[in-house]
């Protein structure tokens, strides 16, 4: 429903080059990429702040390439929230309504409604400077959402928050999407955001989209070594976690269960760095909790290392040096054992479904 066709724009040292993307209605779309990849410029161009040098943007059937930001019905929340410091929280939230000349009584009612949705009603008369990061975040979201935008753009909205607040905000965003049905496009540096929220992702590098697709597809099949190295994780396993003593037993959607050092229970995504997986011809005794048998499916060279993909009931990627790979005489079809520590498995609770 948002369609971007070969969009190019240069702003100082940042540029977006020939980007084409399609974001579906109601989708949670996350854009990942290193600093300076042009992610913010892309978002601001979608919002209409900058006019692209070439390319077109469609919202539904409507072309909005040269539409003014105020007529696009696209909301934006920045990393630093950009709350107007000279206005109270209530005036900040009502800012968009005032531009639309909505009656003061209606404004108050809508601000009240938005305040209770985001649990910030008690802050209405305070000034932004006196709020905590999490509170400012909610006010910024309320200010954007009160206009019921078709699309909400979030530019690293959680990077200024501490870990706990970030986790709370994440489930908040997921709830907001459910309640309002707003399409959300978010930029992030945190892989947790991706696993907990995203339906689909795009990876950007030097102004270009190098890969876009379903989250699990992109992680399992990185388009090139840049994506593989940038994502760097190698293994994403969806499933359920249940407590087993001091650790958790992870049951993937298919394949054998394994252990993770975590106290999380329920639906989750387990991540495991490919370099943390040890391959051996025979099982061996060690302190590692997990040792799974599997069959080599594919061996992908990348520089001085190789990525070995195993079928252990679910797909598992291991990162080896070329030498180790030769010593083990690995080739597609080889039987091997994959050993990894429970503490190497990182468990992220899933809040989006």
């Amino acid at each position: 429903m948002l369609r971007i066709e070969s969009l190019s724009i240069t702003l100082g040292e940042f540029s977006v080059r020939d980007v084409s993307l399609e974001i579906r209605a109601g989708e949670y779309f996350i854009i990942l990429g290193p600093t300076g990849a042009g992610k913010t410029v892309l978002l601001e161009t979608i919002a209409g702040i900058h006019t692209p040098e070439s390319g077109r943007i469609f919202l539904g059937d409507r072309e909005i390439t040269s539409t003014e930001p105020r007529s696009r019905n696209i909301g934006m929340v920045y990393q630093d929230y950009m709350l107007f410091p000279h206005l109270t929280v209530g005036e900040n939230i009502a800012f968009g309504l005032r531009q639309k000349k909505i009656s003061p009584a209606k404004q108050r009612a809508l601000v009240e409604e938005m305040g209770s949705l985001l649990e910030i009603s008690h802050l209405t008369n305070r000034y932004p400077g006196t709020l905590s990061g999490g509170e400012q975040q909610r006010v910024a979201l309320a200010r954007a959402l009160i206009l019921r935008p078709e699309i909400l753009l979030l530019d690293e909205p959680m990077s200024a928050l501490d870990g706990r607040t970030r986790e709370r905000m994440r489930s908040e965003l997921s709830r907001i999407r459910r309640v309002t049905g707003t399409t959300i496009i978010q930029i992030t540096h945190h892989f947790e955001d991706v696993f907990a929220l995203a339906d689909r992702i795009a990876i950007m590098r030097e102004g270009q989209v190098v890969q876009a697709g379903e989250t699990s597809d992109v992680f399992l099949h990185p388009a090139d070594t840049f994506v593989a190295e940038f994502l760097g994780i190698g293994n994403i396993i969806r499933g359920k976690a249940e407590p087993a003593g001091n650790i958790a037993r992870i049951s993937p959607a298919s394949g054998p269960s394994f252990f993770a050092a975590s106290d999380i229970a329920g639906d989750m995504v387990a991540t495991l760095h490919a370099e943390d997986v040890i391959l051996s011809a025979e099982p061996f005794a060690s302190s590692a909790r997990n040792c799974l048998p599997g069959t080599v499916v594919e061996i992908i060279p990348s520089g001085s290392t190789v990525r070995v993909i195993l079928d252990a009931g679910f797909l598992l990627t291991a990162l080896l040096t070329r030498e180790s790979c030769c010593d083990l005489h690995l080739e597609p079809g080889s039987r091997v054992y994959a050993t990894f520590k429970a503490s190497a498995v990182h468990v992220i609770p899933v809040t989006s479904q």
Partner: protein, 257 residues
Amino acid sequence: MKKISLAITFILFFVISATLLGLILYSPLSVLARSLANPEIRFAILLSLVTSVISTLICIAVAIPVAYALARYQFPGKRIATLVLTIPLTLPPLVAGIALLLFFGTTPWGKALDQAGFAVIFTPLGIIVAEVFVNLPYLIRILRSAFSAVNPRFEYVAKTLGCTDTGAFFQVTLPMARHGLLAGTVITWSKAMGEFGAVLMLAGATMMRTETLPIALYLNISGGDLDLAIAAATILILISLFTLCAVEYLDRDVHVF
């Protein structure tokens, strides 16, 4: 080092205070009151007030868009434009005044203005022109730094919330830069009240016609009427004190000096 620097600081404090107090306390209060009632001084006060307020308003109206352009937009020749806009700041006012005098006195444009009824040379209008010319660059600099301090993303957000470009400026950027605007206005006005060199050159020093407070001070000291000169000087000192206090108060988040 501590002893020496503190000692010099105290001595300087003492010298400045003594100099200014000496001037203010020179004439007894009754003499000062009588001088202030003098028609010439009252004319000078009124003329100074009227010209300085008008020139300050003109400066604000011109400086806001110019400072905003310099703070926000990239355009060819921006460096040169910034340099030229800054020259009057470092120019001695006397030189600025004589340049204005030549501009309005000898060029076809100046003569055309004169024909059209805007006589600038040796008129009160000249006072305003001189004050604007000297003070405008200063206000532009203050406002440029005030606007630069406001992250453009505030305007971006305002636009996604339904503002036009102009709406975003007046509802977000200008209110956020209000301390800089207030401080700049006070300084511009106070500099206009005290402007001497450029006014002397362009508007002349005609008693009871282009006689602002500094001109009155100059005319009376030349003519030997010390009491009237001191009355004018005292008012100028009070204006400086007021400016300093106002700017100190506003300067918590803008840095104009």
